[in-house]
Symmetry: C2
Subunit: 229 residues, 2 copies
DNA sequence: CCGATCTGGTGACTTTAGTCACTGCTTTCT
DNA sequence: AGAAAGCAGTGACTAAAGTCACCAGATCGG
């Protein structure tokens, strides 16, 4: 029978962070790695909790978000297999800056803070990889700030739709997220998502059929994004 | 006469990033470091430009910001002596995500991308320091997102005022920034800053006398921050 | 199968944000 | 000194954003 650490090593091997490690090194790391399954919607940790270590998504998807006192949520990122979570808070000693839940049945690895720091000291290539990942994260956060500061809900919704369509590499995609969830991702409330979607449909920029969204006027949508508001 | 590289080493010694290096190592790094003076308002680099290396503020202060197509600005951070600039874009190969200008006469060090990466490989403690700095940066960006997404201009203005007063550790401080600049820092426009300041004064939360701002009702201001909007 | 919960649509409204235009006050440059 | 540029205040808007309340259809557990 396969030992569970060898399957952990397989997962580790596929993550960007540890691609530089040899099989033996992966095996050694695997012995210090926990693996756990999560139900959809399960909480990994809450904003403000002290940071115990970093997580790596093995299967499923997780949602990193902030919650306002009034109960509104702002999604910072959705991460899928191979992505690491909280790789930065691990280093500065502070608490987790945001909360994380799964969005579907998921499996995650956990590496304790101490172990991960030791690993970065031993293999500087890993530290460089972390910095690379952190760079990408920082870019996305700056992008969110840019959108929140400079654009309207309509603009953000359009850019969300175009991103989604591009991800599915077609002019049509299935809307899996609820309006509520979409609102949290673009930084607004449910009602405005509903209204703006209806308006985009009325203007024949998009077509909506159940949960299927079709882009009818790509040029028009792109023109709105690039036009100075 | 003192060689210029030895004075560079002195500056390097005082930056958080290189505190782990020995004097000899600092001297070696200093030979690969450029130092330059900048006039106030001078541009270090623009958003979108390819990232050539990282900067370290030796004297003065710099302003990291995004610009909208319509000409609005959103400040991401103001950095003073000892801080590094663009330590993350150096690693992910992408362009600078924001623009940087000085806000006063300044002096900065520059380390080329290649040299800095090599340094991180050779001294993993430096990489860990960079990660620590990056963690703090990430926290601040998340904080900006939180404020933009959940709060009003009034709220952000109050929290700016309290931050400023705390930095001066008193109930009174000099408003050095123009309303325009303050607007860029809290993500709005000049007119709203002017109006909200006037309103806070009318409500006797603060007193304004020329460029001197005095906090008259600290409890009231703090209560507004913590009240659920 | 049926009540309960979740999700989406929408009218009517309030509040906040942002725009435009204009004024007056400083500061600075030559 | 005088022109020019920059900064601040404000009235009058427009337009976005957000709130509240309510309805209707879908879905799901027992």
């Amino acid at each position: 029978m396969m030992s569970s650490t060898s399957s952990i090593a397989d997962v580790l091997k596929k993550t960007a962070l540890f691609s530089a490690l040899s099989d033996a090194e992966l095996g050694s790391l695997a012995t210090r790695t926990l693996i756990r399954s999560y139900a959809p919607g399960e909480l990994l940790f809450s904003e403000g909790t002290s940071c115990e270590g970093l997580y790596i998504v093995s299967k499923g998807r997780v949602r990193i978000f902030k919650t306002s006192p009034a109960g509104r949520e702002q999604v910072l990122a959705i991460e899928g297999p191979g992505s690491s979570i909280a790789e930065l808070p691990v280093f500065d000693g502070g608490p987790y800056p945001a909360s994380v839940t799964t969005v579907e049945p998921s499996e995650l690895l956990f590496i304790a803070r101490k172990d991960f720091r030791a690993l970065c000291m031993e293999y500087p290539e890993i530290a460089l990889k972390v910095l690379e990942v952190a760079g990408a994260r920082l870019r996305r956060l700056v992008g969110i700030i840019e959108e929140l500061s400079f654009t309207t809900v309509r603009h953000r919704l359009i850019s969300w739709i175009l991103r989604e369509a591009k991800a599915e590499s077609g002019s049509s995609f299935t809307l899996q997220a609820s309006h509520q969830e979409l609102a949290a991702q673009i930084g607004t409330v449910r009602e405005l998502v509903s209204r703006n979607l209806a308006r985009l449909q009325a203007q024949e920029f998009i077509g909506i059929n159940g949960h299927q969204v079709t882009i009818l006027n790509l040029e028009g949508l792109e023109a709105e994004l690039s036009s100075v508001i």
